[in-house]
Every structure is written in structure tokens, then in C-alpha cells.
Symmetry: C2
Amino acid sequence: MKGNTVFFSSAPAVVSSAAVGGKMEGDGPMSACFDKINEDPFFSCETFEQGESQLLKQAISHALEKGSLRCENIDVMFGGDLLNQCTGTTYGIRTLGIPFLGIYGACSTVTEGLLLSSLLVDGGYASRALAVTSSHFCAAERQYRFPLNYGGQRPPTAQYTATAAGALVVSAERLPPYVRAATVGRIVDMGVTDAANMGAAMAPAAYSSIRQFLADTELTPEFFDAIVTGDLGKVGSRLLCELFARDGTDITSLHRDCGTMLYDFEHQDVHAGASGAGCAASMLCGYFIPRLRSGEYRNILFAATGALLSPTVNAQGESIPAISHAVWLSYENGAAPDIRFAGRTVS
Amino acid sequence: MKGNTVFFSSAPAVVSSAAVGGKMEGDGPMSACFDKINEDPFFSCETFEQGESQLLKQAISHALEKGSLRCENIDVMFGGDLLNQCTGTTYGIRTLGIPFLGIYGACSTVTEGLLLSSLLVDGGYASRALAVTSSHFCAAERQYRFPLNYGGQRPPTAQYTATAAGALVVSAERLPPYVRAATVGRIVDMGVTDAANMGAAMAPAAYSSIRQFLADTELTPEFFDAIVTGDLGKVGSRLLCELFARDGTDITSLHRDCGTMLYDFEHQDVHAGASGAGCAASMLCGYFIPRLRSGEYRNILFAATGALLSPTVNAQGESIPAISHAVWLSYENGAAPDIRFAGRTVS
């Protein structure tokens, strides 16, 4: 590591990825990014929680199929979700027989999984690693807030939890995009206590990790075609740009946020935008990775963001800690001559 | 990986570890293993959940202090716990500023953290990695079962969640014990639906991973001074030995279970034994690692076990998936001549 950033010497590749969504996601502007859209929020199951497990399993199936892979080709899987005890994941994968390491990073989970998968492949410990995460609006609403039937009103700063999942496979093959470096985030808690304003709670964590990444790699924001955040929504995105503006850095033209991409603000009632672990995961797997594979994007910095609260501690008056891990994905797999870093450096 | 097992070529060392407990743990036969005992279940905080965060933070502080380390000496920390959204961990560490990757493996968390820490050190990605986990009886009871005031009765198969935390630091120094290999577990669900009998749900997962480890390493059970499980308790321990007996393997004299070690069955009302992520973590950090450092033990196989359920899905009638990751800890750091494996092999 140099600073908080790991440089991957072998440039592990994301060789396959898939995104699966629900009805709202299929009705939105990103519908073409999904490999499958499910109209039924129960996914032909009896409960929303079982539905989320199906959703997550579908994403894995599509990612494997697109890579012409089977479960036994995967050495290790990283996964987690927003449900208590990550049961969306554990019940979704329990019949697959893939060696499993559970992770929890709230809505930052997809970058944590990508980072760890890349580490295991780069280090030669695994031939192929899979990362997966999901979220489900109906399951999340009743767990974090109220049962849907209650019809609770939400303030304009609130975001809408995506019913979506993303899965990706990392291996040492030569196929763009490549994972070049990743910054492990630190927890940042600026004292925001409003659980209906996650964007404000998470923006400082995204700022911290992106800034750390740029310092550790000595790259400038302009090197990237896009600096992407997970689900800051409208409020958090504005705050992120403001934090960079204070440093004299204008990232407004480079910044994209999955939370503002997934839905149509005019025709879909999503307040400040999308959220949920499946938001960043589906946009990474269904939008950005295909565009990096085709060469439409050459380099992106992808920083999913997670709010590490629970309803219990929030009800006890606690503020909301947040975290963001930033991953550099590139169409190129070698160090370009104009990029100044000396490969992997152990601190 | 060979099979599901990672072989560490540099034999990363556990250079420091610490265990912290509550009153019950201090009253038990393992009291001498704890660096600190807290009589107050609130840990001078207002809620049990805040108390758990203090408990976990104390374990980190002691582990750092015993290794003459400060937070800035740790490149990356892995942690998680049983509270919803792992808030015991995230609120406990939010002021420390250490790059953090959240993990969730229920009561198997300590071996997942040790495995991942060893990977990052072995691969040269981190100079020092820290793993931590905790559990708190009062916080776990009201989250998973009933508020304490309710006075719910528990069946004889039930276990008592330890109020305990363990933290350990892995680095590339030459100091026993060394982490030689680790098997990443698969989820095993044999259909047990009784959440008051976690031992029965978890025993097949421990069996699966230990057997896989032995197959991948071509080591025999007798090679080890002890084969240790996390918190199977009396019921699960008996089942584990029965499963091995079916293969014609008698592990009864080698098997130790942290869940049957932590409390005094005669004088403490703990039914089938101890459980909770802090049970295996405190026994690993406070009992086994010091004995491996002194050479009292030469080799142990440590397989913590986790039940990956939530009260929600269990109430929906689901059975309980379980997982176990097995780690080989050794006083020696080189491959003994009689051990037949060819170092790290990419499958």
C-alpha cells in the first residue's frame, strides 16, 4: 500500500458482470443496463426477503453465464447486503457451494467486493473471484423505516432504495476493464443524525477517499473520464462538489452519481435519487463496466459510498458514520508512461 | 488456492492479540485469558449497543498496546459483529482513522478477519493488518430474542452469548504463532430451523471446512495439538465428533470448543455453553495465541463457526445456513519436511 491505496501489479480484469433490477428500475432511463427486469417484487417467493435472495442469485447466474462460467470455476465469492445479518446474500447463495467470505459495507459493498476480489486474483490466491451485492426497496423499507402499508411520508432529502443487484467476476485474463488500484476507505462521521439524508452523511466519506486516492496515485481528476460515486443522490452530490470546490478543484463536469442516474426524476417519485447497495452495484456492472470494455470510457474512478448506521443506534441519537472505497478501473492494463507511480509499494 | 485452501508462502505472524470480557467471563474459568474485565454491562455508556462498541474498542487498544503499536501503524482493519449492520464495530472504530473493510461471518468472524489479514500481509499489500470482533449478551438478546426484562426461558440446547471481544494484529515479523494456511468455508444448511439450537446448525459447517482443510493440506488430525471450533457448545461439539466418527476418524481427544471452555457449566447458568462472535475471538486471542507463542502448542487448527440467520427470516420458517473458516496456526514458520504440500498453488 502507498497511503491507503493498493496498486495491483497484475491488473486483474473484470471479465464478466451482470445487473438485475425490479419494475421501477426497468421503468427508468437505465433499463437497457439490466440483464433482467423482474416485475414481481416477490420474485415468485412468499416474502420480500426471499425475493431479495432471488434477485441476488439471478445477478450471479447472469454474471456466470455471460462469462461462460459455472459455480465450480469460482474460487471465492465476496458478498453482502443491507438486510440484517446479510441474509439477502447468505440465503441467496446457500445452495451454490462457492467458498464464501461475507462482507458488510452498506451501499459501498460493491467496491469492497471488487477491491478484495482484485487482491486475491492479483496476489495469485484465486484464479477467479466473484463479488455480489443487492438491495430491495420493500425489504429495506420495512427493516429500516416502516412497513409499506403504513404509507410513511419521506422528506425531499430522502432517497429511494433500488431493487437491484450486481455481480462481477475478476480474473487474471486479458480483457478490459482492468482494476489498477484501490483506496481502502476510513470511516468519516461529520455528525449528521438525519437518517433521511444519507447523501449528506456519505458525501464527506466519498470526498475523503477520492482525495486520498488522488494523493496516493498522484493522478489528477482530469485523468479520468468520470469520477463516479455510489448513491449520494442530489443532495450528497452537490455537497461532494462543494467539498472539492473548497480545495479549488472543480469536479462538477467529471462527477457522475449512480443515485442520480438510475431513475427519471421527472416521472418517478424518488425524491433525492436512488440508494441501496444494488444502486451502485447495478450501475457499475450494467453501465460502467460495459462502457469500459468497449473503450468508450478509458479510465474511471468508482467510489461507492456506505452509511454504516442501524435503526437502533440512530434511534438512540447517534450520528451516521460513512465509508467509501475508491477503485480505479481502466481500459488499459499497463502503466501509461505519463502516470507517475512505482507499482505496488508496501508502506 | 488448492481446493478451498490458501497456503501462505511468507507465513504471516500474529504479533499481538488481546481479549476483553464482561462480568460473566471474568467469573468463569478463563478469566486469566482476558486483558480486561468490565463489571458494568453498559461500559459506562447509556445503551448496551454503545457498550459493545466500547468493548470492541478496548480490545483494539489492548492489542495495539501489547504490540507497542498505534493506530497509524495499521494499514487495514477487518471487523464485524452480530449487531444489525455491524454497528458494534463501526461505531467502536469510527474515531480511530484506520482504513477499514467490514466483514460479516456471524460467530466465524474472527477466522474470516484472520484469514483476510494474513492474505494482505502475505501478498505484500499491507505491513500490518488488524482483525477484530465482539458480541454482547444484553445487546444480542434483545436484538435476536427478547428484551432481558421479558425473562424468556431458554431450552437446554440454547447457548449464552458471550460479552467479549478479541483483536489481533498480523504482520510479516518473525514471531510465533504463524498463519500457515486457511480454508475458506462454504455455506452448509442441513435444514435445522431451531434458532435455540445453533450448535446443531453449525456443526456440519465446521465438519465440512475441517475435512476440506485436511484433504487440501494432506495433514492428519493427529498433526495438530488441538482442533478447535468456535462456539458449537455441548450439542454441536458432540455432533461434530459424530460426523467425523462416521468417516472412521476419532477427533474426540483433539477437539476443543471455545463455547464449552468459556464458562463453568456447574456454577454458571449457560445451558449448552457460550456463543457469540466474541466467544471464539476472545479464546483465540486470549488463550490459544499466547500458548502458541510460548510453544506450549505447536500446531492448532482453528475453525470458528457462524450461523448466518436473522430473526426475520427465521420467523419466516427458514432453516439456518452456517459457515466455518479454518485457519492453521503454528509455532513453526517453515514447511516441516514431513508435511506434503508444495506451497501456494493457484487452482
